[in-house]
Symmetry: none
Subunit: 418 residues, 2 copies
């Protein structure tokens, strides 16, 4: 089954609204094992809509349309659709009654415009709107399934889940099962990831009926495995086998699955070890603390963080020695280590992380160019420090430096990954 998703609305094509409906429906259909092959967006114009319906009817056998079901003058999606189906638009009495009740409750008069929302193409199945006024419609035309949803994301989602999904499951049943797994990775650039996977993997995984793809979510990369099979057992076996191959290839670059973040994985490991954490940041300017404190319940293990932008603050807050600063400069392995030791000692945390570097655009020198960063971690098992070079612009520098610190912390805390 091939699906196409069409958004109707000037506000979508002119960019005033981001078309999140398309991604929601794309994902929802993919989960049903349906291949979404096209998205389209057209303005509130008869000719454009008509062409979009005809094109979709030709190249897909499931067409989901969002938008243009409301009470305003530029809402006429179902009018054009009815015309395209060669059917008149007729009043759907139960929907009209529902609409009238709704306005009675609000104690507002109902207008003709509002009542127009209850008109559907003759023969269509109504899709009730669980959270709003405009009903949707489902209609089969020349073997192609069409469904129409409101453009308001909340209404569209509720209608899809509660009203359309049961219908969809009936006519799309019996197809192939499609299982997906996302492995989240860090530490290999996109090009190297591709090289490492391509050589022997695409062929091998292909044999198992499994597809592999990846998506950069800087600074991490998602590797997505999709297994398709006739039944769930077969799909699960294919997925498991493919995952094993991938895990061998990517080893400790894989830091988690699904929605895992480097920060959530590191915090979980801290909790498992009953360690508490404190951070000392210079160049990342609080990004690391901010990522950690996005996690509910992190106060269990996160005690404090400091952002020591000035030399004076490194001395005052962290006890970095003035002579270390003089001899090696603020961006050095020595200062990073003293920062990590300082924050651990001051806070009483078992683990101290420190970063010092040059985010740029200013502040670089020939010896220490913009992009230089030293990361240090002190922990019950010892001390670790390493220099890095990320000449990527201020935002990406901060983000990659913080991720590198979290990834190292994860490896220190999970000896298997070390």
């Amino acid at each position: 089954m091939i699906a196409e998703i069409i958004a109707v609305g000037n506000e979508v094509v002119d960019g005033s609204v981001i078309n999140t409906n398309a991604s929601f429906l794309g994902e929802a259909l993919s989960q049903q094992g349906i291949t979404v092959r096209y998205h389209a967006a057209v303005p509130d114009e008869e000719a454009a809509m008509r062409e979009a319906f005809a094109t979709a009817g030709r190249r897909a056998n499931l067409v989901l349309v969002t938008g243009g079901l409301g009470p305003t003058v530029d809402d006429f999606t179902l009018e054009i659709a009815a015309d395209y189906f060669g059917k008149p638009l007729v009043m759907h009495e139960p929907s009209l009654a529902r609409l009238r009740r709704f306005f009675e409750i609000l104690q507002r008069p109902i207008t003709a415009n509002q009542e127009k929302q209850a008109m559907l193409p003759e023969g269509a199945t109504v899709l009730e709107n669980p959270v709003g006024t405009a009903p949707g419609a489902y209609y089969q035309h020349e073997g192609v399934h069409f469904a129409f949803f409101p453009g308001v994301p909340k209404e569209m989602k509720a209608m899809y889940r509660e009203r359309f999904l049961p219908i969809l499951e009936k006519f799309s049943g019996g197809g192939e099962i499609r299982l997906m797994k996302v492995l989240r990775c860090f530490g290999l650039p996109e090009g190297q990831m591709d090289d490492r996977l391509r050589a022997d993997l695409q062929g091998r995984l292909g044999l198992l009926g499994t597809e592999v793809g990846f998506r950069v979510r800087f600074p991490t990369i998602d590797v997505r495995l999709v297994a398709k099979a006739r039944d769930a057992t077969e799909a699960m076996r294919a997925l498991r086998e493919a995952e094993q191959v991938l895990r061998q290839r990517l080893q400790d670059c894989i830091y988690g699955e699904g929605e895992d973040e480097l920060s959530t994985v590191a915090v979980d490991l801290m909790k498992k070890n009953s360690f508490r954490l404190a951070t000392a940041e210079s160049c990342t300017g609080g990004l690391l603390a901010n990522q950690l404190t996005d996690i509910p319940g992190v106060s269990e293990i996160f005690l404090e963080g400091v952002v020591t932008y000035s030399d004076a603050s490194k001395i005052d807050l962290l006890g970095v020695k003035p002579e270390t600063l003089r001899a090696h400069g603020a961006v050095s392995a020595e200062v990073a280590l003293e920062m990590a030791r300082g924050i651990a000692a001051r806070s009483g945390a078992e683990v101290g992380i420190a970063l010092t570097g040059i985010a740029g655009p200013g502040g670089g020198t020939p010896e220490k160019p913009v992009g230089t960063v030293h990361i240090a971690i002190v922990h019950p098992g010892g001390e670790w420090q390493h220099p890095y070079f990320f000449p990527l612009g201020r935002d990406r520098f901060k983000s990659l430096a913080a991720a590198t610190a979290l990834d190292r912390l994860r490896k220190i805390l999970s000896p298997a990954a070390g």
Copy 2:
């Protein structure tokens, strides 16, 4: 001029990625007075891409394509495009040289995959990538302008603005003049904004040939003014008059224009006043420091920040009195003030900002429910503190609390806005 925007990528059609590129380009083209009539998204498949190019070439005279320019095997947009144009794909030597330099700087070997990115359809104009490796391309085919951009939003945007816009302005000139101004606002919820503007503004601005609209970019709101006229003088006059009306209506809710952020406006004011800043955060967990340190050159005025998650750290790092914590609790006006005083005194900064609150989901009590936050600012002109209640979920709570602190700082530093 009619435009179509095409996104290429499995991750778009299957919904794993929201197609924000389409809305950015839709808006950008609309600003140029170009009518965007279609969006399309297709998978990384030759037939689908070819059909999309042909359809767009038939119904639009400007086609912008995003995605599929990278180094991986599923990146072959330009290959299909070249074939559609009836041209071979040829190596663009300056781009290749640029790519090689990039890898030299990173001290990493360049692979054949990477080099492939420098190949363009013969006769195409290169669009350099100001922030990444893959160049884009512009090509005119049978009177239709085609431009190809990377799928990574940051790269696409930079390339559009810096490389494509000058080309576009050359061939799209001659229509009506369309000027836009964005006023960035904070402090009024969407509904109130609507009420305040609607009553007398929409009519009045309409008379001036000016449209007003707004878009929520939580926690701020952009008010957009668009003036259309036959010539630039008239459009500028309309825009200026409309802006005056809006400024009267919205007063000190307007904190900036265009790309201004609350943080950049506050930092500029700090620099103007020659004040230095230090932050003490509890519930925002480093978000405020992180936003400040995203600004290049902030080290001139930002000395240090602390994230005092535990009571012990509030005492140790900020000198908050244990008896204040006992008497009023960590989330209180008294503790917020002591935190602000503490960080200012410790750092020697003229301005100290402190936030203490309950981000949730845990930690609330009947007296101090989740969402409670106290903000305090000490500055050369005095001390300020205020309680707020933002029961919006952890992320939005942090973001709104940090924005509120920055907005207050801005008002303190610019007496006119006070």
